[in-house]
Symmetry: C2
Subunit: 133 residues, 2 copies
């Protein structure tokens, strides 16, 4: 055990750990979502990058754009300077929270609808089964 000297990971280790392609990680760096260090030319991803990537992937799962996510991520690592910007970002995040809660309400509705349809389908299939005997 000295196979992970620091907590820095190569691009391949990252890909295996998060099930993404190298292209994706480079793309996220280009979009300033990740900031890996360099060993000469090679990328080395830090613990911070992994935390961010976790949030990126979570955000993507319910339809946020990478640009949305980038702005949210900025909320996570303010250092206390740049107060005005902090407050603006805070307000932005509040808006987004409202959106998300509205989205959940609609999702609840849609799930109820779909469940009703499924019950109807089930009844119909049962009928078909009986007719087939």
């Amino acid at each position: 055990m000295m196979m992970m000297p620091n907590d820095l990971m190569t691009i391949r280790q990252m890909c295996d750990a998060f099930d993404v392609t190298p292209r994706t990680l480079r793309f996220y760096e280009a979009k300033e979502l990740l900031f890996p260090h360099r060993d000469g030319t090679r990328r080395l991803f830090t613990r911070r990058d992994r935390a961010r990537l976790t949030l990126i992937l979570r955000g993507k799962r319910f339809g946020f754009s990478l640009e949305d996510i980038r702005q949210i991520l900025d909320l996570y690592d303010r250092d206390g300077s740049n107060h005005a910007q902090t407050i603006r970002t805070y307000e932005l995040a509040q808006q987004r929270l409202a959106q998300m809660e509205a989205q959940r309400a609609e999702l609840d509705l849609a799930i109820a609808d779909l469940k009703a349809e499924l019950d109807a389908g089930e009844a119909m299939i049962a009928t078909l089964r009986r007719a087939a005997e």
Copy 2:
């Protein structure tokens, strides 16, 4: 009052009612999501089209693709024939329901996370306010 002879609507009436562009409605027709009648060359949208469009727009709001939506819509207007296909579609919808419930669970988590961050931000801003007096 005889301005709505049947319950058929022109493309413009549809656009106004649903806040979409003509291009969008034509596109949905091309993708076989809508099936407006024709008066010569002009489209006339039925009550059924309106019901479908409502579901299309709802589906889009939480990130389903039009192709996903098209398959779900098929569940809504089975006529009882083509049983095998009905059952397959039913199973497909069940899978999607599971996805949606998983998605909601994650959404709940993310909302909690974001709320925590917002509370932190609030405390920080309060501190800044006090420091500014």
